[in-house]
Symmetry: C2
Subunit: 377 residues, 2 copies
Amino acid sequence: MKDMIDIQQFPASHLPARILMGPGPSMVDPRVYQAMAAPLVGHLDPEFVRLMDRTQELLRYAFRTENKLAIPISGTGSASMEASIANTVEPGMPILICINGYFGERLAEMARRYGGDVTVINRPWGEVFTSKEVEEALKAKPAKVVGIVHAETSTGAEQPLAEIAKIVHNHGAILIVDAVTSLTGVPLKIDELGVDICYSGTQKCISAPPGLGPITFNERALEHMRRRTKPVASWYLDLSLVQAYWGPNRSYHHTAPITMNYALYEALRIVAEEGIENRWARHRANSEMFWEGLEDLNLKCLIPRENRLTSLTTIVIPEGVDDAAVRKALLDDYNIEISGGLGVLKGKIWRVGLMGYSSRKENILLLLAALNKLIYK
Amino acid sequence: MKDMIDIQQFPASHLPARILMGPGPSMVDPRVYQAMAAPLVGHLDPEFVRLMDRTQELLRYAFRTENKLAIPISGTGSASMEASIANTVEPGMPILICINGYFGERLAEMARRYGGDVTVINRPWGEVFTSKEVEEALKAKPAKVVGIVHAETSTGAEQPLAEIAKIVHNHGAILIVDAVTSLTGVPLKIDELGVDICYSGTQKCISAPPGLGPITFNERALEHMRRRTKPVASWYLDLSLVQAYWGPNRSYHHTAPITMNYALYEALRIVAEEGIENRWARHRANSEMFWEGLEDLNLKCLIPRENRLTSLTTIVIPEGVDDAAVRKALLDDYNIEISGGLGVLKGKIWRVGLMGYSSRKENILLLLAALNKLIYK
């Protein structure tokens, strides 16, 4: 063990200015970095409490909801995913998870770990579910909780939700929706759709650094939670405790990540200033520009236009092109990060995020030019 | 629901420059704020991977350990506490928790939630355990895991550990130690003591913002973990998955909170530059200065000198002095944050942290002067 440490071995970090066009984290508005430079205050400081209240209000705006509970979980998007499952699933409870990609699989894995009696329905990665498929699954085996992914980060597919929400409610279940890669970038109106629980991360279309997981529960979901017979196994993610801290009582639970909350507040202010409908439209317009450019380069998208996410595009890697070599050259020569495929799509697709502050015309033009050079020249 | 939002209602945050002398968060070196202003890179970026490796090395230095596993959990100190419990406790497993304050109670609560067959031994809040008490408890009922708090943030007591670690090992159990309020501020040598699992938070003596929870497991603890028959209920905190991301394979698990990791790395560089023994000595010297000042003001400490933490001092509120009024005046008039008591000590003590960057002579002099004015003038 080192009693002394050679500090020369640990230089100050000199991080390159990457152009982040992977599936997250996305780039961050300079205003958000400035907000993070504000001095720390205590987690029960009256000024922090004010910021917490305003953040909740802005999260409601982002989710398009009047839900009382709309808070950031003190962990990344995976923590808010787990909070959704941990608080709703009890041992032996029948759960239905729809899997058409990596994150659906993760939902099922979490539901099993919390003791759920998990049924899954599958679509090939990249496809989406019809409401009929969900209905048939619920008829074959009723469930109390249904989990589905709105924006499947592993495939780039957008799942239509309106009909599914109705069917889930007709069967007396609650609907959990993963909006990690869609919230504030892709049209999503929680209340209008009837989504009971929705979660996200800060580092995608919200464009704050990773570290918080926005989540919302409606009254139906809270009622489901109140009927629990056993406490949630995870103390850290137990929303009955977490909401007592975020609610009027301010009961101490854990020390909130102060600086990350500064970042989230500023990022949500930017969302509100742009206007959420305008933000959705910007994501669409920029992605359409990107898709046209891909067509010109003779590059194919994995997902058909009607289900293609406007926040994340998945490109089929052309025959004979070296996946890793192209991504390495993008990073080394141009400081551009895009991402490869996960699971069954590893080596088969590239994932390009145009989310939040990263969704900019200059980024698109640059990436198209770089891809053209690396693939064809 | 608001389709438009009145942005005037959500002004940019103007946070006051607080002098943080509560039990955390503590103040942050300006270098750490600067480090957080670095642009985001991806969580699998080669530059970030390099930073992860260096951070692990510096965490080993901070813990005084050669453990392979020494990483920050992507949540606050409470998340690293839960990771310790979640990964070691299985349903029905006999667990012993030593409770002499709020955080011992939390350990027991978490162990119960993860299905442990939990036995507790109690000392009045503010006292510490003798090794004999732990031995008797283990003789009366063997346990596989023993949890104890090194630095009880609710009372200011420091728990001696050397004898207890031996006893726990003699009984074939592993020892979990809470070092949230001691790591890098109070002498603690994990390997020398034989502590199997130790966890902390970034916002105390390490003096980074809250949001990460450093944790270390030794080989004995990892072996205990490998013998599990069921997966950890919490996917997010499952160390077998987390360590695959932090280890050489870099298997994707979750998106690390990039900016918080910049902060932690810089804060740990500062620890290494100061030298850990020097840092312990500074915390002691400054706290002794503070204690002398308190004596001069005729204010009593709750904890006798021999078990008093050098990172956190608990002051008995004198008869007739209004707890809340004094703390409010400290905050409103002088921007000083100290904290009240928790649980049975609510209204009875003040908690004053002198941790990391907050442990400075100017802060001490100021707080003593302010207390003098508010109590006696």
